[in-house]
């Protein structure tokens, strides 16, 4: 493959953003040129990525479509490449961003043009994260994603936007500073920052522990894990709908992806060593945040806390180091990307109509909004992991995987499933069912065409991957096998070394 397709999919949104930037418009005016350009670029990019997904060789675990350029000679190479795991995340990103763009056209009232630019730039950075095969490049994209997100929260956010934006920013920045130090350390230790080379040569086990912790601090904040999750509810609550969607659907996944690609891939010995830490933090996260979610009065906060709980399953699954666990985690992340995006969009639909996110504002809207209620139901069921939705497949596999390793963790994590049912159904009941007591709601209108299409597409995806998750498994199958094999050989080697 000579054509640099990965660079293309990464930078197409950026070029789109440039064109959007060049469109002229008065402030706050609806800028149709900007809208069309951004929709066009994001959708074209989505289809190119679909094609990449289709054409990627699913029988090999090697990185594919590799591109390599010298950037700072002898030090940083600009290296791109994907395998079965990363393509799924890229696909998810390219799928979610157009949806965000569609949704923000109506809901963002001020500075739409800048918002679109921020979204497109964000897409570039996120795809870059999943494509990069060099630690420095990875770090660049990983951190760069903060800026547009910070702006999205800080400019288009709610009343406490500044506090939330800074909380988000500082949490993530502090986490990743340590990762930067670790990356520099890796460069000193192994003389390269090329991930494929590091995979082959490996990192001496005595260094792994500290490096693992440094990477962990970054990913744990990003994911987020307990107890560094508190930025997430605040950020979600204040962010505009599209911001929440990107945050929940994609940005969190960068943490999970990082765990798979770097923590497990590069530091297997340390990963094994720290598994109890991950298990206990994640188990706490699952139960603790589920209980908190139960008591939330704000819809977005509730969903945010449920995200933390769901990400708890992801980390548990990754650190089982078996097929079901890791594949379950990947599917769980993918499905959470779809479901949480859909949930935030659903909240956004209500918010656009009444400008309230509080649960008590609502109640009894099912008669006036039957279509909405139907779609919302599907997403709620996806969240609580009903079989037939994509949420079930991931969650169940993770639990199967962890049950192989540790009964107690599996049982405690399963309790989270019960709690998930409790908080989601209670939310649904309080919002959708019951008597309509708020007079303002009397005039509320059902979803319009564009909202219906967005939510419809998402619900179709949720159901499709619930009934037929095979495409996902086929894509990641070999890569995950390879990951586990490498992990096992490294662990074996380490044991023999110690003897």
């Amino acid at each position: 493959m000579n054509f640099p397709i990965l660079s293309a999919i990464t930078f197409i949104p950026l070029i789109g953003a440039l064109f959007v930037f060049l469109t002229r418009s008065e402030r706050d005016e609806k800028n149709s040129g900007a809208i069309y350009i951004s929709i066009f670029t994001s959708i074209v990019n989505f289809f190119i990525i679909l094609f990449v997904w289709y054409s990627i060789d699913k029988t090999t675990s090697d990185f594919q479509f590799i591109e390599e350029y010298n950037w700072i000679s002898g030090f940083i190479k600009f290296k791109f490449g994907i395998d079965g795991i990363s393509i799924l995340f890229i696909l998810l990103t390219a799928f979610i961003i157009p949806i965000c763009i569609f949704s923000c056209i109506n809901s963002v009232k001020t500075r739409l043009k800048e918002f679109l630019i921020a979204l497109l730039v964000l897409e570039t950075f996120i795809i870059g994260v999943f494509c990069s095969l060099d630690l420095v490049i990875f770090y660049l994209f990983f951190e760069a994603g903060l800026i547009p997100m910070f702006l999205i929260i800080g400019i288009w956010g709610g009343p406490r936007k500044v506090y939330s934006a800074f909380k988000f920013f500082l949490f993530t920045l502090l986490g990743s500073v340590l990762m930067l130090v670790a990356i520099i350390a890796i460069y000193w230790i192994s003389g390269t920052t090329d991930i494929t080379e590091i995979y082959q040569t490996g990192i001496p086990s005595e260094y792994q522990y500290l490096l693992w912790l440094a990477f962990f601090s970054s990913f744990a904040v990003k994911l987020p894990m307990w107890p560094v999750h508190t930025w997430l509810p605040d950020a979600h609550v204040e962010a505009p709908t599209a911001g929440s969607v990107v945050l929940a659907a994609i940005l969190l996944k960068m943490g999970g992806y990082g765990f798979i690609r770097f923590s497990v891939g590069m530091f297997p010995v340390a990963s094994e060593y720290f598994t109890p830490l991950i298990f206990s933090l994640s188990t706490i996260a699952v139960i603790y945040t589920s209980l908190i979610a139960l008591m939330q009065k704000d819809m977005k906060k509730l969903i945010a806390y449920s995200s933390v709980a769901h990400m708890g399953y992801v980390t548990i699954g990754i650190f089982t180091f078996n097929k079901q666990g890791i594949e379950g985690s990947i599917v769980q992340m993918f499905s959470h990307g779809l479901i949480s995006a859909a949930l935030f969009l659903s909240v956004g639909v209500l918010y656009d109509r009444t400008h309230s996110r509080l649960i008590k504002t609502y109640g009894g809207i099912v008669n006036l909004m039957p279509k909405y209620s139907f779609l919302f139901m599907i997403f709620v069921l996806g969240t609580l992991g009903l079989p037939g939705t994509s949420g079930f497949v991931g969650e169940f596999l993770v639990l199967v995987g962890v049950f192989k390793v540790n009964y107690l963790v599996a049982i405690l994590a399963s309790i989270g499933v019960i709690l998930a049912a409790a908080y989601t159904l209670w939310l649904y009941k309080r919002v959708v069912f019951g008597k309509m007591e708020n007079i303002q709601l009397k005039k509320i209108k059902d979803v319009n065409l564009s909202e219906a299409v967005i939510l419809g597409v998402l619900s179709a995806a949720v159901l499709f991957f619930g009934f037929y998750p095979d495409p996902l498994f086929q894509t990641v199958n070999v890569s995950v096998d390879n990951l586990i094999n490498n992990y096992n050989t490294d662990i074996q080697q380490n044991i023999t070394l110690k003897k």
Binding site: Y139, F141, E143, L151
Partner: protein, 384 residues
């Protein structure tokens, strides 16, 4: 006479300054013309230095060294001065400071810096340093009618005099123990356990640290930055820092090369202290110029970290850092100089809110610069 070829820029600069003074005296309201001439002069100087950079040598009894390093520093100094003059003209006119002395003094300080960065001898170095500092004292208090500006000038003058004294004392100590004022000779004559040289080195370091404002010799920075007119502050925050860092590198690289073990500790300490103080101090500031002062303290800390490594790579990275720093700082001050409401310049941060409504493009630019100052990739500040 051949040696004079190498200092053509300095000679040209000196003569031009004299001519400008004459013009200023005899032509009324000559601010405009001298300002433009100065800009043109700086441009010419850049061209001259570029066209002259093929030969390196040590001249005047090896007291001046013209090499790639000094040329690079000079070009940095010139470019940043050019931009700073360029962006601050409007401001100077607005605060009715449009006297012809202004550009002339700026040029004089540049002359001092030129001498300083190309010095290869303690005496020449001190000469350049003092010429530069004298010009800066006047610059700080150039807004004579403004009490704050005068106060800043005085403060800077007194403290700088103190530091110069220390520095001079250090020079004499070094001379006494090393037996020479020439950098190379000093380097050859130093031994690690010579207390006298080490003391001299400490005194010189303190003097230099004062110039680049690193902890604990930074105290003047916030006050002077705030008190001086913004146009001057922007100059202060960039140009003397370049020169200071350049000579810092030179000192560490040439005369004190042999006692690396000793000064490394000091530099590490100063650099870390500056980073922390710069970050922490900046948090509580309400005045954007004071904030920039703390930011520059922090950045000098980072720049010093490069020197502290004591390797050639470290020195290089400091130079790169300084170059990026100057871009960012000029940008930031460019924005500050643009922030005007109802004809008045804004300095308090809480008044800044809402600027983005009137100057969207500028606020975006300011934001990017601040992100870069904060070191967020992929912006340049990250690579430092």
């Amino acid at each position: 006479m051949l040696d004079l070829n190498f200092i053509i820029p300095e000679i040209f600069l000196t003569l031009s300054i004299l001519v400008f003074v004459l013009i200023g005296v005899f032509v009324k309201n000559s601010f405009e013309i001298i300002y433009k001439l100065s800009l043109f002069l700086i441009f010419l100087l850049i061209v001259i230095i570029f066209s002259n950079n093929n030969e390196y040598s040590k001249i005047f009894n090896e007291s001046i060294s013209i090499d790639m390093f000094s040329i690079y520093s000079k070009i940095l100094i010139l470019i940043s001065t050019f931009f700073i003059l360029f962006i601050s003209k409007r401001y100077i006119i607005d605060i009715k400071n449009n006297k012809f002395e202004y550009p002339v003094i700026v040029l004089l300080s540049i002359l001092g810096m030129f001498i300083m960065v190309s010095s290869n001898d303690l005496i020449v170095f001190y000469l350049g340093l003092e010429l530069q500092s004298l010009a800066l004292y006047i610059l700080a208090s150039i807004d004579r009618d403004n009490i704050k500006s005068s106060e800043a000038g005085i403060k800077y003058f007194v403290l700088s005099a103190l530091s110069s004294g220390l520095l001079l004392y250090g020079c004499s100590l070094v001379y006494g123990f090393a037996g020479s004022t020439n950098f190379e000779t000093i380097s050859n004559n130093t031994q690690a356990f010579n207390v006298g040289i080490i003391f001299g080195m400490v005194f010189i370091l303190v003097g230099l640290a004062f110039k680049v404002s690193v902890v604990p010799f930074h105290m003047w920075t916030p006050d002077v930055y705030q008190g001086a007119p913004t146009s001057v502050t922007s100059f202060f925050s960039v140009v003397p820092k370049i020169a200071g860092m350049a000579i810092f590198i030179k000192f560490m690289y040439v005369p004190f090369r042999e006692i690396l073990d000793q000064w490394q500790y000091i530099l590490v300490f100063m650099s870390i202290a500056s980073m922390i103080l710069g970050a922490v101090g900046a948090m509580a500031q309400k005045n954007i110029k004071r904030l920039m002062a703390y930011s520059s303290i922090g950045h000098m800390g980072y720049a010093l970290a490069g020197i502290a490594s004591g390797t050639e790579n470290g020195f290089k990275s400091t130079l790169v850092y300084i170059s990026i720093y100057l871009v960012m700082n000029i940008g930031a001050f460019g924005c500050i100089l643009l922030m005007k409401r109802d004809g008045k310049y804004i300095e308090e941060i809480n008044q800044l809110s809402g600027v983005s409504k009137n100057h969207p493009l500028m606020s975006l630019g300011f934001l990017i610069i601040l992100f870069s100052l904060a070191g967020i990739p992929p912006l340049a500040g990250f690579f430092c």
